[in-house]
């Protein structure tokens, strides 16, 4: 039983990344400790005090490296303060600045991964890894729901209030639409400011449903407009005659309440670039590192040993 305990201890110390010489020394000392306790008839009480092999290994690992506490504090600070701050700032910035922030965020995540991997207590790694993952997920949701939502190309979800605004806007443009059938520039002006969003917006009808598409730039919208103009003009013109139907029409899927939109936004994040940036890339990098360290490197080393 004592042998088993010591084997378990050795296993957990090795798992914690302790050097073999230090590990052997610690195991030998604990063996001697247990032996002394046995000879004094205190074996059971000593074993109770030591706790499980895993628990003892955790304490020994944590106390065996003087830099552990500093690493732990730094990793917690970077994981819970620096990375979330960067990942909230990144989507709020634009263009090159956003990219730089994102890369800085990745660098910080890599730095934290390195710090965490050097921590001697295995349980702490899991906790911090979970925190880092949670933070990444939180950053993704924040970015997608509150920042990215209004900027993406494609179909969008609208709340009832926004739909009412849209309907009012459509009514206002009724006259412009009628004129637009013969004069494109006037219609463009009406359409592109229809819902007052920063991006160019084009509205049309598809399969009986009102479809609103956003475009990154006005020129993109003009191009799309040029292609679909006849159909959109006729459909939109007939649609504004029957605005009461709008409530039951689908707008990029459906008209929803705000919580439902938030839910769908999170689901939509699955196709967003932020999913890749915040979640998949760090995970893939992590798996790659683990693979290189645990599988590939071990294989290479064992072959080198066999050859020598």
């Amino acid at each position: 039983m004592r042998r088993r305990y010591l084997c378990d201890l050795d296993h957990h110390l090795r798992k914690g990344g302790l050097q073999s010489s230090r590990r052997e020394q610690l195991v030998d000392e604990i063996e001697s400790h247990l032996s002394e306790a046995d000879s004094e008839g205190e074996y059971d009480s000593t074993l109770n005090r030591l706790g499980s092999a895993k628990c003892l290994a955790g304490h020994l690992l944590l106390g065996s490296d003087p830099n552990n506490s500093l690493r732990l504090r730094l990793a917690v600070f970077v994981s819970l303060v620096v990375i979330p701050t960067i990942f909230v700032i990144a989507p709020l910035s634009s263009g090159a600045a956003a990219t730089i922030w994102l890369y800085l965020g990745f660098a910080m995540m890599a730095f934290t991964t390195m710090l965490i991997s050097k921590l001697r207590k295995v349980q702490v790694r899991y906790v911090l890894g979970g925190c880092a993952l949670g933070v990444a997920l939180f950053g993704m949701i924040v970015a997608t729901v509150f920042v990215d939502l209004g900027k993406r190309d494609g179909y969008m979800l609208y709340t009832h209030a926004e739909l009412a605004q849209l309907r009012a806007s459509l009514n206002q443009r009724k006259q412009t639409v009628a004129q637009a059938q013969g004069a494109i520039p006037e219609f463009d002006a009406g359409v592109f400011t229809a819902v007052g969003r920063p991006n160019a917006v084009l509205m049309g009808i598809s399969d009986g449903a009102l479809v609103v598409r956003t475009f990154k730039s006005e020129s993109d919208a003009v191009k799309a407009w040029a292609v679909n103009r006849p159909e959109v003009i006729s459909a939109l013109a007939s649609e504004v005659e029957e605005t009461s139907k709008l409530e039951s029409l689908a707008v990029g899927g459906t008209v929803v309440s705000f919580p439902v939109r938030v839910f769908f936004s999170v689901v939509n994040a699955g196709t967003s670039r932020f999913t890749f940036a915040y979640l998949l890339l760090p995970l893939l990098l992590n798996f790659a590192c683990v693979f290189v360290k645990k599988v590939w490197l071990r294989d290479v080393l064992s072959r080198a040993k066999a050859i020598s």
């Binding site: 030998d28 020994l60 106390g63 065996s64």
Partner: protein
């Protein structure tokens, strides 16, 4: 002095009397403190290794017949100096706490 430093001081104090191995150190601390202080092995051995790395104690493996080898620790000169410093700090701390605790209500008499 924090908890970690306290344990190191206790180890140095115990070793200042005689050379001991890990189990005996833990036992001596328990016995001298009348079971008030019970350092866990998870704290004791890292503390011993830290003191050894800092040169405050030296260690030697003693081979035993029919039993596992044991590592015996001895205090060094630098360890004795550290013990003296820590002892002084601790005594000052105790004196300070004692003074605060001995404060009595001086105003009681004047109000009466």
């Amino acid at each position: 002095m924090n908890k970690k430093t306290n344990l190191e001081t206790l180890i140095l104090a115990v070793l200042s009397a005689e050379s001991l191995h890990g189990y005996e150190i833990a036992k001596a601390i328990r016995a001298k403190s009348e079971n008030l202080l019970k350092p866990s092995e998870g704290q004791l051995y890292p503390a011993l290794h830290k003191l050894e790395a800092e040169g405050h104690i030296s260690a030697e493996w003693v081979v035993q017949e029919g039993k596992p080898n044991r590592k015996t620790y001895t205090i060094t000169e630098s360890g004795s100096a550290k013990l003296a410093t820590n002892k002084q700090t601790w005594e000052k701390y105790i004196a300070g706490v004692g003074s605060v605790l001995s404060i009595k209500r001086e105003t009681e008499g004047s109000h009466a």
